[in-house]
């Protein structure tokens, strides 16, 4: 089933608490895991690595090894890392800030090599992905998502249907090796293995066997070859098979696309310069409690882009 949510605030604000409320309102769509892609103020001198050590006993040595690895690649630690404070948890989450201007793929490969088993949840100058088991309020209680201020973000509640229940397989996904690209997806792809093989031949790595991760990598690859965000989304409607409604985000925009039968719903609401989208309208109403005057249910093959400067691109391809 799953539920997706996105929000973009005209003047920035408490996107973390908004997304927690939206995802909690869709708790019934799945609570195997809940995740958030949050975009804060971008800092080009700093990369934020969000890490999860599934085995809590490995996090100290693993973090040290990753920092040493960053130095070997010519970077350095930017400022003190943050660690989640859950008592007795079997795993540990670390937020690492580094100065690094090199190749992101090398950085991601290094992390895997020096800290085997670690899950690299996101890399970005602005993007931070927080995902964990349980519903939105459980994830918020441990990771303080509600405190996050930013411009825009995505949320996802997961009921695993196509792959295993685990934190790593939860959404959102980032598009290794492209920083600051994140995706949430509701649906299933049916040409996953074909596309994955093609992307792997081009050198891409996949952290999971989840089909949604592929969409992020597939779209980021298109953009790296010179396509615009909007063009990549439009191509996806015909190149991805299956049923899907997804939201893709980058530091300046959120986009959405739906497959040609559009059986996965999205409601889009414009509220005084803010834009919110979710699988269910009641999720939007958890934040904007007044009646909504401007809502729409995008048609099949609809592609939208909401730019941070307020421009909206939309087309049925």
């Amino acid at each position: 089933m799953c539920g997706i949510a996105g929000i973009q605030l005209r003047h920035g604000g408490p996107i973390g608490s908004h997304l927690v409320k939206m995802c909690q309102a869709m708790r019934h769509r799945g609570f195997d895991s809940t995740g958030f892609a949050l975009y804060g103020d971008p800092d080009p001198t700093r990369l934020i690595l969000r890490l999860r050590f599934p085995d809590v006993s490995t996090w100290v040595a693993g973090t040290d090894a990753i920092i040493a690895g960053v130095r070997e690649l010519g970077g350095d630690q930017h400022s003190e890392h943050g660690v989640d404070d859950a008592v007795g948890a079997p795993d540990r989450f670390v937020r690492l800030q580094v100065r690094y201007t090199g190749d992101i793929r090398r950085l991601a490969v290094m992390v895997d090599e020096v800290a085997p088993g670690v899950e690299l949840q996101s890399i970005g100058h602005s993007l931070e992905i927080i995902k964990d088991a349980g519903d939105a309020e459980m994830v918020d209680a441990r990771h303080h998502v509600s405190a996050f201020q930013g411009s825009h973000g995505l949320g996802h509640v997961r009921l695993a249907t196509e792959s295993i229940v685990s934190v790593a397989y939860g959404h959102p996904f980032w598009a290794e090796p492209f920083p600051d690209v994140s995706i949430v997806h509701n649906g299933q792809l049916t040409n996953y293995f074909t596309l994955r093989r093609l992307l792997e031949q081009d050198g891409f790595r996949f952290q999971t066997g989840n089909d949604s991760e592929l969409i992020a990598v597939y779209l980021a690859d298109k953009m790296s070859r010179g396509q615009t965000f909007y063009e990549a989304l439009k191509d996806s409607v015909y190149e991805l098979d299956g049923c899907f409604a997804y939201l893709l985000s980058m530091p300046d925009r959120i986009g959405s696309a739906k497959d040609m039968f559009a059986i996965k719903s999205i409601v889009v609401a414009n509220i005084g310069g803010d834009v919110a989208m979710a699988t269910e309208e009641q999720a939007i109403r958890a934040v904007y409690t007044e009646e909504l005057d401007d809502t729409q249910h995008p048609d099949p093959r609809s592609v939208f882009v909401w730019e941070r400067d307020g421009r909206v691109l939309q087309e049925i391809v």
Binding site: E280, E281, Q282, T289, H297, D299
Partner: protein, 233 residues
């Protein structure tokens, strides 16, 4: 009869526990007017209700409002999501704003009135009753309709009446395209008067020139090896 028979019962959807059951119980106990405040686009509001009684939702509702209705009058002051009045058998549903996908899907009887527009697949698999849309309908309206009247005062989208079995679709505005086996026929004066009567009963005045869409019935019996007969997509 007790006091509750005449008094309006006000329920708050923010306290939604067993809300539909509480409405049914109230109607069984003689309440005839129920008002639900703070619906906040929640799903499954007013599902499985029966008459006699009127349930008013002050605001917008989410998916599947009024589904399986069996005789209640359900009035939504604003808009509704997917599947409004799905599989209802009798009663009346009125939506003050717009409806999303699948309004009146598989309805068997009763009346649905939508004051605004409806999304795709309106009246899909309809098996009876009347569905009136004052605005426009999206693509695949009347898909596989078996019986009943879908009346559209505005425009209709692509693939109108695709695989229509029986039943009638009435469109006053433009038709973007007909689906497989759907044809436009000239209505008789009596038929036109009957449709205007249904509209007048819902407070919709004005004279419309309706196009009547019915099944050409070529798909009632056809040779599956002849794709020309059925393959339009």
């Amino acid at each position: 009869m007790s006091q509750s028979a005449t008094a309006e019962l006000v329920l708050d959807a923010d306290d939604g526990h067993r809300l539909n059951r509480r409405m049914r119980d109230a109607i069984d106990a003689g309440t005839r007017e129920i008002r639900v405040v703070n619906p906040r686009s929640r799903h499954n509001l007013g599902v499985g209700q029966h008459g006699p009684g009127t349930i008013r939702f002050d605001g917008s509702v989410g998916y599947y409002c009024g589904g399986l209705n069996n005789g209640a009058e359900i009035i939504v002051s604003r808009s509704a999501g997917w599947g409004t009045g799905e599989a209802m058998s009798s009663g009346r549903i009125e939506i003050g704003g717009t409806c999303a996908l699948g309004t009146g899907a598989s309805m068997r009887g009763g009346t649905i009135v939508v004051r605004g527009n409806c999304g795709p697949r309106t009246a899909a698999n309809m098996k009876g009753g009347t569905l009136i849309v004052e605005g426009a309908v999206g693509y695949l309206a009347g898909f596989m309709t078996h019986a009943g009247d879908l009346i559209v005062c505005g425009d209709a989208g692509e693939a109108l009446g695709d695989s229509l079995w029986a039943g009638n679709i009435w469109v006053a505005g433009k038709i973007a395209g007909l689906g497989a086996d759907a044809v436009v026929v000239e209505p008789t004066d009596e038929e036109s008067a009957r449709i205007h009567g249904l509209l007048a009963a819902e407070g919709i005045d004005g004279t419309f020139t309706f196009k009547k869409v019915v099944a050409e019935r070529k798909l009632w019996y056809f040779d599956a090896r002849d794709p020309e007969a059925w393959l339009k997509v």
